[in-house]
C-alpha cells in the first residue's frame, strides 16, 4: 500500500504472482501452500458463509467444506479466473448444498432453530451502525438475505446471482427489493433516498 492506502499496480501484480505460485504448489500437493491460501482467504469465505447462512456453526461448516472442495478441485483449476473468485463460487455452492441438506433433514422448519445464533460475529465491526446493519441482514428471510449478500454486498449482477441460486432473474430482483425494504424499515433508513 502507498501512503494513501491505495494498492499500486506493482503491488497487485506481485500479490497475484505470489498467489499463483501458492496455487501451483498446492496443485502439486503442498498442503503448506494450501494452508497459506486458506489463511489469506478464510476471512472472505467465512464472511460470505456467515452472511448467507446467518448462523456461526453452519458458516464454519460451510467454510470447511468450501476449502475441502477447493483442494479436491485444484488440479483442474487453470487460472482462468482469480483464485479468490473461484473459491467464492465454491463457497456459494457449499452454502447452497448445506441449505438443501438442511431442508431435507428438517423439512419446512429448517430455520426454526437458527435464531439463537443469528447474531453477527463480535469481530465483524465495532461500529454500532455496522453492527446494527449486520444484525438486520442476519434477521432477513433466507432467500432475501442470500440475494442481498450476493448482489448488494458481493457485487454480482442479478443474472449471476440468479444463476448461482437457481432463481429466475425477476425473482432475484424482487427478493433484493424485499430485502432492502425490510432493512430500511429495521434501520429506519428511507429506502432509495440519497
Amino acid at each position: 500500500m502507498n501512503e494513501h492506502g491505495i494498492e499500486s499496480e506493482f503491488e497487485r501484480a506481485r500479490r497475484a504472482a505470489d498467489e499463483r505460485a501458492l496455487v501451483d504448489s498446492a496443485q502439486g500437493g503442498s498442503t503448506a501452500a494450501f494452508e497459506t491460501l486458506y489463511r489469506n482467504h478464510v476471512g472472505k469465505v467465512y464472511g460470505l458463509c456467515l452472511r448467507m447462512t446467518a448462523n456461526r456453526a453452519t458458516a464454519e461448516d460451510c467454510t470447511q467444506e468450501a476449502f475441502i472442495q477447493a483442494w479436491r478441485s485444484l488440479p483442474s483449476f487453470q487460472n482462468r479466473s482469480a483464485f479468490g473468485t473461484w473459491l467464492h463460487r465454491i463457497a456459494v455452492n457449499a452454502v447452497l448444498a448445506q441449505g438443501r441438506k438442511r431442508r431435507e433433514r428438517l423439512g419446512a422448519d429448517a430455520s426454526a432453530d437458527e435464531d439463537a445464533e443469528r447474531l453477527p460475529h463480535p469481530d465483524s465491526g465495532d461500529d454500532g451502525g455496522v453492527l446494527d446493519l449486520e444484525r438486520a441482514i442476519a434477521m432477513l428471510p433466507a432467500g432475501a438475505r442470500q440475494v442481498l449478500v450476493l448482489v448488494g454486498l458481493c457485487g454480482h449482477s442479478h443474472e449471476e446471482a440468479a444463476a448461482m441460486l437457481g432463481l429466475a432473474v425477476g425473482t432475484c430482483k424482487s427478493q433484493l427489493h424485499r430485502a432492502r425494504q425490510m432493512l430500511a424499515e429495521r434501520l429506519a433508513v428511507p429506502e432509495g433516498q440519497p
Partner: protein, 204 residues
C-alpha cells in the same frame, strides 16, 4: 450524463458497501480442514453422481437420440458397404479422436473410472478394424459425432472449473461420456456380422 433517482446510490447501499468483506471465524478452522485433505498422489475417486429426476430424464433423451441417430446412420452405411467392396483404408482421424479423449477427466478433481477407460480402449482398438468396412462418408460422419461429444465434454469440464461440484454439470458430463461409449458400441455392433448385443451402460 444525468443520473435518475434509481441510479443514485442511496444511504442503504452506501452502508452496505462499507461493510467489511471479510470476517475472521471465531476459531481456527484449519485443523478440521487439514484432517480431511486427501493426499494429492492418490488418484481421486469418482463420486456417486446424484440422480436428479429431471437431469436423468434429460440424459435419457440424450442417449436415446444419440443411439437412434447413430443406429440409423450405421445401418445406412452398412447397407452401402454391402454394395461396395470393402476398403482397406483406415480412419486414423476417428481412432485418434477416440484415443485422444482417453485422458478425459470427470470434472475437477475427478477422473473417469478404470472400467470405463478399459472399455473405451477396447472399443477404440476394435474401431480401427470395423471402420475399414465403412465408406468414407460414414467415417466422416462418425468423426463429426465423436468430435461433437468431445467438444461438449470439454465445455462442461470448463464450466465445472468455474462451478466446481455442480451436480447438474457432473450429471451432464457423465451422460456425455456414456453417449460416447454408446456411439462406439453402436459402430462395433452394427459393423460386426456376428454380434447382436446392445450397448450397455458402463460404470464411470
Amino acid at each position: 450524463m444525468n443520473q435518475g433517482p434509481a441510479d443514485r446510490p442511496d444511504r442503504l447501499q452506501e452502508a452496505l458497501s462499507q461493510l467489511p468483506r471479510g470476517i475472521e471465524p471465531g476459531r481456527d478452522l484449519w485443523p478440521g480442514i487439514a484432517a480431511r485433505l486427501e493426499p494429492r498422489s492418490e488418484p481421486a475417486r469418482v463420486r456417486a453422481v446424484p440422480r436428479w429426476a429431471w437431469a436423468a430424464a434429460a440424459a435419457t433423451v440424450l442417449v436415446v437420440a444419440s443411439s437412434i441417430v447413430t443406429a440409423t446412420l450405421m445401418r445406412r452405411e452398412a447397407a452401402m458397404t454391402a454394395r461396395t467392396a470393402p476398403t482397406a483404408q483406415s480412419a486414423p482421424e476417428v481412432v485418434q479422436a477416440v484415443a485422444g479423449s482417453a485422458t478425459a477427466a470427470f470434472g475437477p478433481g475427478h477422473r473417469v473410472g478404470p472400467a470405463y477407460l478399459a472399455n473405451r480402449r477396447v472399443l477404440a482398438r476394435e474401431l480401427e478394424v470395423r471402420l475399414a468396412r465403412l465408406p468414407p462418408e460414414g467415417r466422416e460422419q462418425l468423426a463429426k459425432n465423436i468430435a461433437e461429444l468431445r467438444r461438449a465434454s470439454a465445455e462442461i469440464n470448463a464450466a465445472l472449473e468455474l462451478h466446481p461440484g455442480d451436480p447438474l454439470l457432473e450429471e451432464l458430463l457423465f451422460n456425455i461420456y456414456q453417449d460416447e461409449i454408446s456411439v462406439l458400441a453402436n459402430v462395433d455392433r452394427l459393423t460386426a456380422a456376428d454380434t447382436k448385443t446392445a450397448p450397455t451402460r458402463i460404470p464411470l
